[in-house]
C-alpha cells in the first residue's frame, strides 16, 4: 500500500497548496474571460439581428454540446496552426482560451436567462419614456438582471473549479497536476484522496458562501 494519506499530505502539502491555488486562478481567469465573452454572446442573441443571433446560438450550442476535453485538445493542437502568434506564447494560454470559450457559452445562457427574467413591462416603460435601447439595457434591464445573474455566475465558477482538473493533462499546474508529479514518486492512490478532499472543501465553502449572499440579496428585495 505504501505510505498513508496523512504521511503524503505532511510531506508534500506545499505541492497541493500550489495546485489548489493554480486551480482557483485558472478557474477565475476562465470565468472572467467567459463572462466578457458570454455577455457579448448574450447581447448578440438578444440583438434581434438575424446573423448575429445565429452566430451566437451556434457558438453556444457547439461549445455546450461537445466535451470540454475535446475542445482543449483542439485549442492545444489546432489553434496554434491557424493563429501563428499562439506559438510564441506559453502553451497554457491555448488551454485557458479553451476554458474561457467554454465558460462563455454557459455564461451567455446565464445572462440571457437573467435578462429575460426581467419583466417585459420594464423595457416598455423605459422605451416609452424615450430612453434609448442602450440606456434601457444598461440602466434598467441589466441592473435588475444582475440579481439573478450573480449567483449563477458564482455557481459557474464553482463548476469551473472542477472542470479545470482537465488542464493538468496539458501540464498546467493546477490541483490535478500534483497527481502527475507524485505518480513519478510511486504514490498512486494517496494523492487522489487528498485532491478529492481539497476539491470538496473548495466547492463546499464556495457553495455555502453563495447561499449566504443569495439570502442577503433576497432580504434587500
Amino acid at each position: 500500500m505504501g505510505p498513508s494519506i496523512l504521511d503524503v499530505l505532511t510531506e508534500y502539502w506545499p505541492l497541493f497548496l500550489k495546485g489548489a491555488l493554480g486551480t482557483l486562478k485558472y478557474a477565475a481567469i476562465a470565468v472572467a474571460g467567459g463572462t466578457l465573452l458570454g455577455t457579448l454572446v448574450a447581447l448578440m442573441r438578444l440583438s434581434g439581428n438575424r446573423i448575429l443571433s445565429t452566430i451566437a446560438t451556434v457558438y453556444a450550442d457547439v461549445l455546450r454540446g461537445t466535451p470540454l476535453l475535446v475542445q482543449m485538445y483542439i485549442a492545444y493542437f489546432f489553434l496554434p496552426l491557424v493563429i501563428p502568434a499562439l506559438n510564441n506564447v506559453e502553451k497554457e494560454v491555448t488551454v485557458l482560451i479553451a476554458l474561457a470559450l467554454n465558460s462563455g457559452a454557459y455564461v451567455s445562457e446565464i445572462i440571457r436567462g437573467g435578462i429575460n427574467s426581467v419583466d417585459a413591462g420594464q423595457n416598455e416603460a423605459a422605451r416609452s419614456l424615450g430612453l434609448s435601447a442602450t440606456h434601457t439595457m444598461t440602466k434598467i434591464i441589466l441592473p435588475q438582471a444582475l440579481k439573478n445573474i450573480l449567483p449563477s455566475l458564482a455557481n459557474e465558477y464553482i463548476s469551473m473549479i472542477k472542470e479545470t482538473s482537465m488542464a493538468g493533462t496539458f501540464m498546467l499546474y493546477e490541483l490535478m497536476y500534483t497527481r502527475t508529479i507524485l505518480a513519478n514518486k510511486y504514490l498512486s492512490w494517496q494523492p487522489l484522496f487528498i485532491i478529492a478532499g481539497i476539491y470538496l472543501i473548495m466547492t463546499l465553502v464556495l457553495t455555502n458562501l453563495v447561499k449566504l449572499l443569495e439570502k442577503r440579496f433576497s432580504v434587500s428585495d
Partner: protein, 247 residues
Amino acid sequence: MTDKRNALIRTVDLKKNFNDLEVLKGISETVYQGEVVCIIGPSGGGKSTFLRCLNMLEEPTSGEVYFDDEKLDPKSTDIDRHRQKIGMVFQQFNVFPHLTVLQNITLAPTLEKKIPEEEAKQTAMKLLKQVGLEDKANEYPRKLSGGQKQRLAIVRAMAMEPEVMLFDEPTSALDPEMVKGVLEVIKDLAESGMTCVIVTHEMGFAKEVADRIIFIDEGVVAEEGNPEELFNHPKNPRTAEFLSQVL
C-alpha cells in the same frame, strides 16, 4: 369646428395584425391639442394595441400615424425623440424597482434630455408634491402602495414634459380604495390642458373628464361622440349592449 383645432395625433386607416389575427381593422382618428379622449370597449377589442401604435411600441401592419403632422416611419423617424413627446402610463405601473422614487423620475430627463441633475431633481420634487408623494422621494418603490406607484408612474412620464399622455387602464390593477386618488391626478392633468388619451373601464370617470368617447369593438371604431350623447343615446346596438354590461 374641428378644422380650427390643431391636430396632434392622426391615424389613417391604421391596421395591425398579429400573425393571422386582425386586431386593428382600419382606424382613422384624430386627437386634437388639449383634447381629452377616452377609449372604451370590450376586452380584446384592440384598445391597448391602438394606444401602443401611437408611440410605436407596436409597429402598424399598414396605415399611417401622424404626430404634429409628421408621418411616423419606423425606419426613418427618431423613435426615441418621438416617444419623449408622448407619456405613457401602464396598467401594471412598471415603475423601476431598483431606483428610488426620485431616480425613477430624473433618469430619463437627465439621460435623454441632458437636463442637469439638480434641475431635474427640483422638477421631480415639484411633481411629487403635486401628487402627495414628496415624503417618499428617497424610498424604493417596494415601499409604495399600488396607488402611489401609479401616481409615481404618472409624474415620471410628466417629467419628460410630453405633448400628450396615453393611459392604458391606469386603475385596473388597483385596489378599489386606491382608484379615486389616481383618477384625481389624471383629472387634474386633463383639466390643466394636457392632451390625454385614456383607455378606461371607469365609465363614470370617462363621462366626467372626456371631451369625446371612442368605442372600439373588434378592431374598429364602432361609435364615437361626446360623453352625453354616447352614454345616454348610443346609436350602435353594440355600444348599447356594451354599456348595459358595464354601467
